[in-house]
Symmetry: C2
Subunit: 247 residues, 2 copies
């Protein structure tokens, strides 16, 4: 399993991903699921992946090589973000097929992956897409300014309650960390460290990129203090009719 969340607010984009991969409960490793593609002055993208690791590593390698070698299309030269999402979707479908070399079909192994892909191309607004194993894509919207892949349920309520297009970029990033932290607590297959990337509108580069482990002071602070803040929030809720006012 995996949990990744991408957020689109007016100020830019936030990407957050866990790093745990597991083949079964007794084969657990740390692998990066958040990948940055930067072409200074032209475009900046972040790709996050849930699903087959061989497929997504193949995809990431191809995306980089296409741009390095100037093949058409490629992430450096595409001029519209939706076309970039379509290109990534096509390459995803191709990678799903090619990551299985068996002549006899899939042999029970699922090589599919689901992606969150977002970024900004010079002259355009930032944008955020979810790309399905079929290669098709949906965009985040002002009503639901976030997209999730993997174990999405535990971390969804906090996103619903906090996020709107007007949310500050750093507040959106803190909300993403809380959402990840809630999920890590409840699903063994989602684990630390957390990769975090922020793309501020107009900067055309990933302005901030962090890896937050259990030893990170910031993460420890959020992890330890969030419960106390929630207790205060519960404490501030209205009393039942039968409770005395001075309790």
């Amino acid at each position: 399993m995996t949990y990744c969340v991408g957020i689109e607010v007016d100020e830019g984009l936030v990407f957050a991903a866990d790093t745990r991969t597991n083949a079964s409960l007794d084969d657990v490793r740390v692998h990066r699921k958040l990948h940055v593609f930067e072409y200074p002055g032209q475009a900046a993208y972040v790709l996050m992946a849930a699903g087959n690791l061989a497929t997504t590593q193949l995809l990431v390698s191809r995306l980089g090589r296409d741009a390095d070698e100037g093949r058409a299309p490629n992430l450096r030269d595409i001029t519209h973000l939706f076309e970039a999402a379509e290109y990534v979707g096509q390459l995803l479908v191709d990678s799903q097929v090619h990551s299985n070399h068996s002549e006899h079909g899939h042999d029970g192994v699922n090589t599919q992956a689901t992606l969150i892909f977002g970024g900004q191309i010079a002259g355009e607004r930032p944008g955020l897409y979810m790309i399905y194993p079929l290669g098709n894509a949906i965009a985040a919207s002002p009503e639901t300014p976030y997209l999730q892949i993997g174990e999405s349920k535990y971390g969804k309520p906090i996103l619903d309650r906090i996020l709107s297009p007007a949310t500050h970029l750093e507040d959106a990033a803190r909300t993403a960390i809380v959402s990840l932290d809630s999920t890590i607590r409840s699903n063994l297959s989602v684990g630390l460290p957390i990769d975090l990337a922020l793309l501020r509108d107009g900067e055309l580069r990933i302005g901030q990129q962090l890896r937050l482990g259990a030893d990170s002071a910031l993460y420890a602070d959020i992890h330890q203090n969030w419960s106390r803040r929630l207790e205060q929030a519960v404490d501030a809720l209205p009393r039942f009719p039968w409770e005395t006012l001075d309790r």
Copy 2:
């Protein structure tokens, strides 16, 4: 689907359940899933059910009749809560079989149900159990002082962060409402009104019982204000290293 949560704290027990049942997306109704059994001075119980409605209604009817007619065992006369949970489990297994009158097996319809059952018998501590379709049961524990059935994921993080055996009974009830509210927001098959019941240690009766609908001032207050309280909680989280202190 359904979402019910039972909480055991030092002060007593809290039970909260939604009321939506659906056969499919276009066959949605309101049915009570929280059932009270009170025998003043002797014992008080609450039963909540997720799963086949015919099964649980049959079970509830039988539990009441056994006590009314003084059959052995019955909820009025059992002297240990764990024996009551075993008795309910046996009756559940029986009801699952009897709610299908077909001679040809289950015909693809699942008559299973899962229960949360808790209460207090005179002379004992209150207790809380989850009863599985097999009829076996597990108890809540001080480390995890709550049990959930149905759509449990959306509403779990708030329970994990707030609840401990020392939590006040009414605070636990407010937490349960927030947990229900988060779930109702995310899963169409979980819906208002919410049934809520509180059993205070030693009272041997359900001291408080409420139905909270969209028109309830208390629910509306919690629903509308919780997001604002969470925003304040996010706002109080530590800043990233690159943020100016005076933002």
